[in-house]
Each structure stands twice: as C-alpha cells, then as structure tokens.
C-alpha cells in the first residue's frame, strides 16, 4: 500500500525496472490484472486469489483474498479486473455466476464488498469503465451482459445477447458510451450503454466462438478479436461497416489478446489449448510472430502489459501455477531463426529462389559485408536500436526459367538410346559415347569419356622420362591454363546468369559473379544449402544449353591443340582456383598427362583429334608406369560427383563400360542405388529396352534378379479358355492342340507368331517365308496380314 501512494501518476518507462522473473502460485491461474501504477498484480483462479507486489527482482505476496475455512464458489474466479482509476477496487467474475467486487481498503480480512448474483450461469468477463469509477460491466454464459452501478445493489441495465453465450466485454477507449461484446457463435456486437434494448451494430467476426476482444489503446477505433478458429483479426470500427484490416493466423485457438502499449501495430496473444507460448505480433507481418515468450509449461491463461504506457514488461499467469514477468528484451525472436532463403521448383522446372537481400548482396561486390555475415545473418538484427523494429528484411526473389530445350529431357532419352555399353572394345565404347555426348552438346561428359578411355586403355610402354623434373614442368603450363579456364568459366556462368535474370523481379539483386557462388559451395554451413543447389543447378544448366561458350572451345580444339579440354572437366569439379597449391589436385593433373601418353601409343591414330593433340603435347611429360588402378580413386570420385549432381545416367554408364576396372572400388550398396535410380528413370521415360539392357549388364545381384521375377507367362487354351498347366501346346482338358501352324499344320512348340488382325499364325520361319511370296493370310481367310 505504501508503494501505491508513492507512484500515482503515469510513469515514464524509466520509472519501472525489473527483470524476467517468476513465482510459483499454489494453484492454476485463470486471469491476472495489474493495478494502475504497475506495482501490484492480482492473480485469480479456481483455487487462488492473491495480490503480489512487483519488486525489483521478485514477486512478493501481499495479500490473500481467499479467506474462510471453506471458501465458497464466489472465490472461484473466471476473470478478474483491477480498477484503473480507483486503486482499492477489484472485481471478479465467478464460475457460479456471481459478480463480486472487492475493496482493499476494508479493514477486515474479508475484503469482499458487493455481490451480484443476477447471472444464471458462469460469468466469463468483468470490465470496469476506463474513466467512470462506479461502472462495471459483466458478460455471462447465460447470454446476458449487465451493467452495474457500484453505488446500487443491483444492475442498472441488462443487455441481451439472444441466449448466445458472451465470452468477452470491453469498454471502448474512444467512445465513452460504447462497449464491444464477443459471442460464442462468432459474432461481435457493439452496444451503447444508454440503450439496453438493442445493439448498435453486429457483425460476424469468426467461425466458432470469439474468445476475446480488445480495443486499441490509442483510441483509433480499432478492435482486435481472437477466436477458436485460430485467428486474430483487427477491425476498423470507424467506418460504417466493420472492416477487417489485419488478420493474423496463429497455430491454436486464441484465448486472450492485448494491444501492446505505445506500439501501434503490436499485440500479444496467448492460446487456450496445446500451445503454451505468448506471442507478440506485428499485425502488418502476420506470418511470423515478432516476439515469443516460451517460459510457461502449460497453457497461458492471462496476459497483461504491466503498465499502460510501458511496452517492455509483460505479465502472464498460467495453468502451470506460475506467474511470470517477461522482459521484452529477453523475448525470443522467431524471425532470427527463420530460414533466410527459400527455394522451390515450379511445375515446369522453373526455379524460384528467394533470399534475404543482405545475403545476396554480400555475394556481390556492391556492398562489401564481412564474410562473417553469411554465417551469422542475424548479426544485423541484434543491433540494440533495432529491437523494437521488425528486422527489416527485404528479400530478393529470382525466378529462373528453364527454357524448353533444357527443360525437356531429350538429352537423357537420346543419350540412353545412343550410348553403347557393351559389345565393342573398351576404347571404342568410350569413343562412341564421347561422340554421342558431344553431339548432344555435353562437352564435359564427352571429355570425361575420352579421359576414361585414356586412363584405362592398356598402358603402353613408352620410354619414361625422368619423373621429377618432367612433372614439375608439367604443372606449370597446367597451372596457367587453369587460371585461364577459371576466367572463362566465370564468364560463362555470369553470362548465363544475366540471361536468366531476365525474369528476376528485383533487378538490383544480382547473383552475378559465378565464382563467388562457387566459393559459397565450399562453406558447409547450413544456410548455404539452398544456394548450393542453385549453383549446381546453374552449372548443370550451363552445360546443357550454353552452347556458345563451349562450342567455341570445341571449334578451337579441332583446329589448334588445346589443353583446355581435359582441364575443363576438372575445373568444374574442383574449386582449384581457391587453393591452387592443393597437392592432391596437382598430383591428379600430373597424373593425367602421363597416362595420356601411356595408354595411347598405338591406338592414337584411330582416336579423335582432340586426344591426338593432347598426346602430341603431353608426350614429353609421361610417367608411364602408372597402372590403371591408380586412377580408380579419381574415377570413383568423379562417378559420385555425377551421381550427386543428378546425372546418374553417366555414373551407371561409366560403371558398366569400365566393368571390372572400377567395380571393386565402389561399394555394392552405392552401385545398387545408382542402378535402381537409373532404371527407374529409364522406365519413367518408357525406355524399356535400355532399362533391360542395363539390368542385364549390371553385376549387382540385386539388380540382375529384377529380370528373373515374374517371368511366368500363363496361357489359356484357345478352345476351351482353360489355363494350360502342363505344356504350352496341348490342352489337358479338351485335348486339342492350341497352336497350329497355318503353313505346315503342325503344332508350334517354339516361337509362335500370329497376325493380330485375323489371329492366324504359325512358326516364325514358316510365316516369314510365306509372306515373302504372298501378302494374304496362309490360313486362307483372305486377310491381308502384316507382320512387322
């Protein structure tokens, strides 16, 4: 009480201080209310009715209003409100239908002042008039609202909600005479306190009960309502018809809603079921809560801002029997945890990519943020002056359209059909496949095939040069060419990107430099995952439809000798430019050149020109002792790379063509996985023959057995329609021979071919011969048979 006298006027926020704290109550709380000067809070529930003082760092119990040995149901509170004018005055709504007022100034232990038992059923809500001392309003389950003058013994007016239960009543901040009532059937009514006969206005706000409503404190005529339909809606009541101006969708039914002081667009909500958190929303940003308080372990039943002009303190009571003071600065900010990037494929293969601008611009050179911000994007929001703002996030949305050519999977179908997987010497297979790939404008794949041939063809025994100096020599030109290559590819990606940017919605958000994207791939923090895919995608794409750059190289290759081809394959695979001295890569490069020589001694003349040129250059650099198995790790890596990238076709084809050379290097499970994916793909494209061939050529037992299943063919007798069990040509039941050759009139025991037009047929050979001489059916039915 001393405290109350100390502070009586509205405070600046500086006068209130405190921290996030809580205290245990003896019983679950149903509602809380705070006194005007923010120094005390009252907690009410079925078995609790207490006043706590809010001290610097703890709650102190001041008063237990629940007195008597066996407290009556009048103490079982559904709601409580502390008068905002008169600091000794409280009102409670009891579950048995009583409205009780309490005078803290009473000297006796029992502070009960007045008791109104006019409601027949539970009173859900009581509300004091904001400026009038003696006016109290109640809303009950029995469908009535009653207005009490506390100087009288009974209600002065009764408002009927037509037997719909009243869930909340709130006096307007703006109009002295107006109050709003929300109902179980989803309606909200506005009443004039002077006219109890009829409501002024009614509208349907929610489907299902409207549990709560709250007028905006800055008398703007805004009313927020929350309902069982999990929505919070803000209505503008100044217009003729109530207009919904904001709508927030929460994840559970909304039990309470309270506007945040001094913040025009903020409101706090809590839920009645399942969800225990308190959310503070910026109604303009309805998809993500501005702040969250997650302390409670059971549903929050009451929330109130501690002081009507201080937005930093929120009090809450809960069914878990705790009372909390939440400091706004300690709130969780869900936006910090939100994924800053989004990636989505469209129906036709278009790719939309949205990312926070800061993330994208950090890639460009325009705004040089330190590299760290990528890893910790939240860094920006944590600036102290930003806490009251929704982190201003503008995202750039880019839509990458795949043009039709690359969109359709023609290349896949063609490749599948044209590739040779067996039946020729290894080198020829490789060359053939390289050619196929080249014709389909897939230079990287083509080069890979060529490389494979080079690596795995029988090593020739050419004169080995001294190992060290030569390899050193070898590295030099290679290095150079890498640098050159890097530029090329960078440009390639760039130009490609700029084209795709045609559709990007914000022209300032370029993903321009391809190389920075590549370097992003290196970082393995989680956020890059999105962009990872994107970068991959673009490169994958580039090799599909970007013919200008690459084809230009092709031309060059044919005319002049070039290193470029082999290295290109590597360039895309490994980010060499970042660490040019990485020994592994160099070794690999070294390795490349020697074996190039090694394997090609005799075969060269037959091979395509580019490899020819290669040889001519690299011949001096050989170290021919290297066995083919030396390359296996690299090849394995390469196959995984292709498979990861989505080109499982390449992985499987190479696997089959290389056969024993590589099989042992790759564990069976992976192989099986690749095979099944590829077969699945083939079957999607209805490439049954190819898929069958792949199954046949595979060495995984799990795959080959695919061909062994359901190989039984059930046939029925053509005469009696019974299934033929024993032999295929004679029916056990009718003892007729089912299939007789129309030419020789003998039973056909092997392949039987028949015309689908007239159903006559016979031995394959006989029919074939017959048709050489005649176009008509051999059975004489006159049908012009066609056998293809």
């Amino acid at each position: 009480m001393e405290k109350m006298s100390r502070v009586t006027t509205a405070l600046g926020s500086s006068a209130i201080s405190g921290r996030t704290m809580f205290c245990h109550l003896d019983a679950p709380a149903n509602a809380i209310s705070v006194c005007r000067d923010a120094s005390q809070v009252v907690v009410a529930g079925r078995n609790i009715f207490k006043i706590y003082a809010l001290e610097e760092d703890q709650f102190v119990e001041k008063l237990n209003l629940r007195v008597g040995r066996k407290p009556s149901l009048n103490f079982s509170c559904a709601d409580v409100m502390w008068h905002q004018m008169e600091e000794n005055l409280l009102a409670t709504a009891a579950t048995n239908g009583a409205v009780v007022t309490w005078n803290l100034g009473k000297p006796s232990r029992n502070k009960q002042d007045q008791l109104f038992t006019e409601h027949k059923r539970t009173v859900n809500k009581v509300c004091f008039h904001p400026t009038e001392v003696y006016m109290l309003l109640s809303g009950s389950q029995d469908g009535f609202m009653k207005c009490f003058d506390l100087r009288k013994k009974e209600s002065v007016s009764t408002f009927s909600g037509q037997s719909e239960s009243v869930r909340d009543v709130q006096f307007s901040m703006k109009d002295y005479f107006t109050f709003a009532a929300s109902f179980e059937n989803g309606n909200v009514q506005l009443w004039d306190i002077r006219r109890p006969d009829r409501y002024e206005r009614m509208f349907t706000a929610h489907t299902g009960p409207v549990f709560c409503c709250d007028w905006h404190p800055d008398d703007r005529g805004w009313l927020a309502t929350g309902g069982r339909d999990k929505m919070v809606k803000v209505w503008d009541m100044t217009t003729n018809r109530a207009k919904e101006i904001f709508c927030v969708q929460t994840i559970a039914s909304v039990a309470r809603v309270k506007w945040r002081p001094e913040k025009k667009f903020h409101l706090a909500t809590c839920s009645m079921m399942v969800d225990h958190n308190i959310y503070v929303w910026d109604v303009r940003r309805p998809f993500i809560p501005f702040a969250t308080f997650e302390e409670h372990k059971d549903v929050t039943t009451g929330i109130v801002w501690r002081h009507q002009h201080d937005p930093h303190f929120l009090l809450s009571g809960s069914k878990d029997s705790t009372l909390y003071q939440h400091m706004f600065k300690d709130a969780t900010r869900p936006v910090d945890k939100a994924n800053p990037e989004g990636l989505c494929f469209g129906l036709f293969g278009d790719l939309a990519f949205a990312a926070k601008e800061s993330l994208i611009s950090s890639d460009s050179n325009r705004k040089p943020y330190p590299g760290g911000d990528r890893r910790y994007p939240i860094f920006f929001f944590k600036k102290p002056d930003q806490t009251e703002q929704f982190a201003h996030v503008s995202s750039a949305l880019s839509v990458f359209e795949t043009d039709l050519d690359s969109n359709c999977m023609d290349w896949f179908v063609k490749t599948a059909q044209l590739y040779l997987l067996c039946g020729k010497p290894f080198a020829e297979l490789c060359d053939h496949n390289a050619k196929v790939a080249r014709e389909l404008k897939r230079p990287q794949v083509s080069t890979t095939w060529t490389m494979l041939r080079i690596m795995f063809s029988d090593p020739a025994n050419l004169t080995p040069g001294p190992n060290h100096p030569l390899s050193k020599l070898g590295t030099l030109p290679l290095m150079n060419s890498f640098n050159m290559k890097e530029m090329n590819s960078g440009m390639g990606a760039e130009s490609r990107l700029e084209r795709s940017k045609g559709e990007s919605r914000q022209d300032n958000s370029h993903l321009e430099p391809g190389n920075s994207l590549i370097s992003n791939n290196n970082e393995d923090n989680e956020e890059t995952e999105g962009s990872d895919g994107q970068a991959e995608y673009m490169f994958g794409d580039a090799e599909l439809d970007d013919d200008d750059l690459y084809s230009m190289e092709h031309d060059n290759q044919t005319e002049e000798q070039e290193y470029t081809l082999p290295q290109e394959a590597f360039q895309l695979r490994h980010e060499i430019m970042d660490n040019p001295s990485a020994p592994e890569h160099l070794q690999q490069d070294k390795a490349d050149s020697p074996h190039v020589s090694g394997n090609e001694a005799e075969v060269t003349c037959l091979t395509p020109i580019e490899s020819f040129s290669l040889i001519s250059i690299s011949q001096p650099l050989f170290t021919p002792q290297l066995p083919a198995s030396f390359f296996c790790p690299i090849v394995r890596e390469m196959l995984s790379y292709y498979a990861e990238k989505g080109d499982v076709q390449m992985a499987v084809s190479v696997l089959i063509v290389l056969g024993e050379r590589i099989r042992k290097e790759i564990d069976d499970l992976t192989q099986e996985h690749w095979y099944t994916s590829y077969i699945d793909l083939l079957q999607r494209f209805e490439l049954w023959n190819v898929s069958n061939e792949v199954i046949k050529l595979s060495t995984c037992s799990a795959i080959t057995c695919l061909n062994q299943t359901s190989t039984t063919l059930h046939i029925n007798c053509s005469n009696c329609k019974r299934p033929m069990s024993n032999r295929g040509w004679i029916c056990d039941r009718c003892h007729q021979c089912a299939s007789v050759c129309a030419v020789c009139h003998h039973v056909v025991k092997g392949l039987f071919v028949w015309c689908q037009g007239c159903n006559h047929g016979g031995h394959l050979e006989h029919i074939r011969n017959w048709l050489k001489s005649s176009a008509h059916c051999p059975a004489g039915c006159g049908h012009l048979c066609e056998y293809t």
């Binding site: 066996k70 149901l73 579950t95 559970a252 009645m272 079921m273 399942v274």
Partner: protein
C-alpha cells in the same frame, strides 16, 4: 456375417464370369448353375443408385435373376442362397422406396410358392418398445430415409427410430459416415473393428453384428471376429481404454494415453489415430445406450432377427435379447397428473429467486450423483458372438462416489469444456471431426418442438438442461453455475432410473423401465430423451479422454 453358409459365399464370389450372358453357361451349368444369377452385392448396390432408370434396371435384373433361379430346377431352397433370401427380406421390410419394397415382397412370396423355405422377420418393427404404428404415425420424413437408403444401402432400425427427429438424424448420419468411411488415419476395417470391440462391452449384439458386417465388407479378416486374440496387438492394446471409456471414464489418466502413444510403446499409436479410435469408441458406447434404451430390434438379417420356422402361436415372437412389451400400460390413470405437476415445477423453477448456500449447492450435487438408483437387473448371459470379443467381463460402471470411500475428484465443466478445449483438440488432430461433433452437440442441445405431452408452447429448456446435467453428474462432471436441486425437482424417480440405467448399464434396460417414465409423453419425446442421454454420455466420455490427451501433450 455369421449367417452366410457356403452357398452364400459362392453366390457372391464366383458368379462374375458368366453373369448376364446365357450363352456362356450352357456348357457348364451342371456344376455351377445355382449361383449364376443370384443377386450379388453389386446388383444390390445398383439398387441404391440415384438414377431412377438405373434403379429400375437393377430391380428388373434382380427379379429376373431370382425367378430364373426358381425356374431352373425343383430341388428346394439350395438354389437361392440364404443370404439372398435375407437380403430380399430386409429390402421388403425396410426399403423406403415403394417399388423396391413391393417387388421384394412379391419375389419372396413367389419363392415360397415354389417351395423354397423363406425366412420371416421376427420383429414387428424397428423397436421393441415403441409400437411400429407409432413410428409410422408420427411421420418420419420419407426424404431423409430415402437419402440414407441411397447413401448407405440400407435403412437400419436405428435410423428409423431416429427419423422421429430428422434434424438430429441427418447430422448423426453425417458424423457416423465421416467416422467410418471418410478420410482418416485408421484403415476402414479397423474402424469397424473398433466399433465392434466397443459395442461388445455393452453386450450390444445389434451393433456388433452391424459392424461385423461392415468390417467384412471393408475387407477385414474374418478370424478377428472370432476373438480378440486374433486381432493385431495394436488393436488389442486399446482394450484398457475401451473398458474405462465404456464404464468409468473418470479413471482415464495421461498414463493410459502415454502407454499407447509414447515413442517406446510397442504397438505405437499416433495421436491422430488415437483420437480417431477414441471418438469411434465413445460413439459406439453411446450408440449402444441408444440401441438398448430404445429397444432397437435386430435387423431382419441379423441373428435373432429372422427365422425359417413357421409362425406358431405358442412361440411368442421375440428373441432373447430384445425385451418386448412387459405390459407397461395399466396405470395410465394418474399419468396426466404427473405432466401437470412437472409443468408447474418448470415454471416455478424459472421464477425462483431463492438463494442457497454454497454448502447446499455442493450437497445437492453430491446427492444427485450418489443417489442410489437400482439398476441391477440380472439378465441372461449375452450371446457368445459378443462374449468372445470382451475381455475383463466383470468391469462395470460403478457409482462415481462409492459411499465412505475416497472419491475421485469431480471434473469442473468450467475447467475443461467441449467448446473451449475438447473441440480444439479434436479439430487439431482430426480435421472436420470437431466441427461435426460440435454441430451434433449443438443440434441435440437446441432440439425442441416447444411442446410436452399434450401441451403446446412449452419452453423445455430447463428440463433438457436438467437431463443433460444429470447425466454429466453421474459421470462426475460438475457445473459450478448449475443448481442440482432442480434435477431432483424435475426428474421423477422413474425417469432417473431409466436415465441411469441407460447411461451407465445400457444392457440392463428393460421394457418396464422404458415404459415407466413419462407415461403420457409421446414416443418421439421419449426418443428425444434418449438422444439427450446418448449425446450427454458421449460428451462426458470424450471430455475425460480428451483431457487426458491434453495433459499428455502438455
């Protein structure tokens, strides 16, 4: 289900290849002739087509088929399977479409003339308590019956009785259909099996048979029906919950939920599945209350619903499990008085301003809930069909507050209510079901025709409320804002006996109990009371189990 001998199976399973074409069967009629043309389920399904012509065609085909069978040779009834005959019998009794009913009757007669043993329905109407005339007289809406015939393929006795209250019937059917047939986490055979399990607890052979058939139709495995031990562990693990939900739902705690749902549980239930199962069980339990409470007769194609014997005067036409009239009609004299008194009391209650103390209120509640209402009428053992699906036979309803013992806490309606809590939980886990149930509760609590017995223009709200709250009281749910004194004033003892029997021991309901209360009221009003009991019971059980689930989720 149990009524299909081998011939029936054959008839339905194997006649597809040759059906409809006379040419095909000429060569092999020696062996398979008798099953070729008998009506199968498919043609019966076509009878429910919404297209009138299609229906007519199906009817034509059906009768052709039957006649053909009859004409084929002269060796008695083997040609028409028992199942077919029962289908015909059912159609002739209950189909709301005049032409179908007529044709089916005709066919049966023809068959009989041909010397086929034809079954005969034992029951004279849908209910053993309510004279069939009454049901017809009080004019059920034909439209809604036709609608339910077209959508479900049959009009069962429950539907016919409920049709006295069409507004309720339509939302009842909608809910039941959604529970059993629409999208949901549980497979369809399981849903029927759960209903069977639940109905077996109340020895309700009607619902057991009805849903056993549904179970088989949905592709369930027949062996499950021969005993719980044949069902999967996961289903069997529901037994405890089923038992508690049926008889003492207040004992359900979050532990029970946890046992089924927590990650360690062996046959693990997801929350959505569990909610679905729980709603199914509660629905079935309350449906049993209705079936017993209205004395619903077995369907003509249920065991005990038909006989092949000729009618004999010595043999009174009721089966053991449908209690028939037990002369409840002799003391009609003072009935009229009772109604007057009740009216008077209702008016008084509404005017009453009398205040009573808190203690008095509590005492009144306690009094209502512990008042001893004798319900234990010992009945014969339930049929084996039902018994083999029940575990722990002896577990029954027990008065919520046994005298002198520590009673479990009452549940405060304000702390966990359907509107605020239950609805949200159900709707969260089983979308749409919350809505449907909510609608059903609302319809039943607002249902009134503003009349009572011979009086028109009566506000029956207080009476309905008293009934509802009395049932919740029996289940230990207390409304702070309700004065339980009025229950005592408004509900006479005979009504209390009926309500308590029906809500807590439905299998013990007898015709006497039914006829003893509200003797001057219309039959439809008594059915209305039944509906209130059924829904109140459903809500009470749901509240307890949903509260346990909420606590588990916390």
């Amino acid at each position: 289900m149990a009524s299909n001998p081998a011939a029936g199976c054959l008839a339905n399973g194997e006649n597809k290849p040759g059906r409809g074409s006379g040419s095909g069967c000429s060569s092999r009629h020696r062996t398979e002739s008798e099953c070729d043309v008998a009506p199968n389920l498919k043609s019966l399904a076509r009878l429910c087509s919404r297209d009138e012509e299609e229906r007519a065609a199906a009817l034509e085909e059906l009768s052709q088929g039957v006649l053909l069978c009859l004409g084929l040779d002269q060796h008695g009834s083997a040609r028409l399977s028992e199942l077919t005959l029962l289908h015909l019998l059912r159609l002739s009794r209950s189909c709301p479409l005049q032409e179908v009913r007529g044709r089916a009757t005709e066919l049966l007669r023809t068959a009989q003339e041909q010397g086929v043993e034809v079954p005969r329905a034992l029951a004279s109407g849908p209910s053993a308590f309510i004279p069939a005339k009454e049901i017809l007289k009080e004019g059920p809406d034909q439209d809604i019956l036709i609608e339910s015939f077209l959508s479900m393929g049959r009009v069962d006795h429950i539907t016919m009785v409920m049709a006295l209250h069409p507004a309720y019937l339509s939302c009842f059917l909608r809910t039941q259909h959604a529970l059993l047939e629409m999208d949901g986490p549980l497979p369809r055979p399981w849903r029927h099996y759960i209903v069977v399990m639940a109905a077996a607890r109340h020895h309700c052979s009607y619902a057991v048979q009805q849903h056993s058939a549904g179970f088989l139709e949905a592709g369930g495995e027949e062996s499950w029906l021969s005993g719980l031990q044949h069902a999967p562990t996961k289903l069997r693990s529901l037994q405890t919950l089923n038992k508690l939900l049926a008889h003492r739902p207040w004992l359900i705690t979050q532990k029970h939920v946890q046992e089924l749902v927590c990650p360690g549980a062996d046959p693990r239930w997801s929350l959505a599945e569990l909610i679905h199962a729980v709603v199914l069980m509660a629905h079935a339990h309350s449906l049993c209350s209705f079936v017993w409470g209205c004395g619903v007769n077995p369907e003509p194609d249920h065991i005990g619903g038909y006989t092949f014997q000729l009618p004999s005067p010595i043999h009174p036409a009721h089966s053991p499990q449908c209690p028939a009239h037990e002369d409840g009609r002799q003391e009609i004299v003072d009935g009229a008085m009772e109604v007057e008194v009740l009216m008077q009391r209702m008016v008084e209650l509404q005017l009453q301003e009398e205040e009573c103390t808190q203690e008095e209120m509590v005492t009144r509640f306690e009094r209502e809930r512990s008042e001893s209402i004798p319900t234990a009428v010992v009945r014969g053992a339930p049929p084996d069909l039902v018994l083999r699906l029940v575990e722990d036979q002896e577990f029954r309803y027990e008065d919520f507050a046994p005298k002198g013992e520590q009673s479990p806490n009452t549940m405060r309606a304000q702390d966990y209510s359907w509107e605020d809590h239950g609805f949200s939980l159900v709707n969260r886990l089983l979308p749409d079901m919350g809505q449907l149930l909510d609608e059903k509760f609302q319809v039943v609590s607002n249902l009134t025709y503003n009349r009572m017995a011979m009086h028109e223009d009566v506000d029956t709200h207080t009476l309905r409320k008293a009934l509802w709250n009395y049932i919740h009281c029996l289940y230990g749910i207390r409304y702070d804002d309700y004065d339980y004194g009025s229950v005592n004033v408004l509900l006479e003892r005979s009504l209390k006996v009926f309500v308590k029997t029906m809500a807590c021991h439905p299998e013990q309901t007898t015709a006497r109990v039914y006829h003893d209360f509200w003797r001057h009221f219309r039959q439809s009003e008594k059915v209305h009371a039944n509906l209130i009991v059924m829904e109140a019971r459903l809500q009470a059980a749901l509240l307890y189990v949903l509260r346990a689930i909420t606590h588990y989720m916390r």
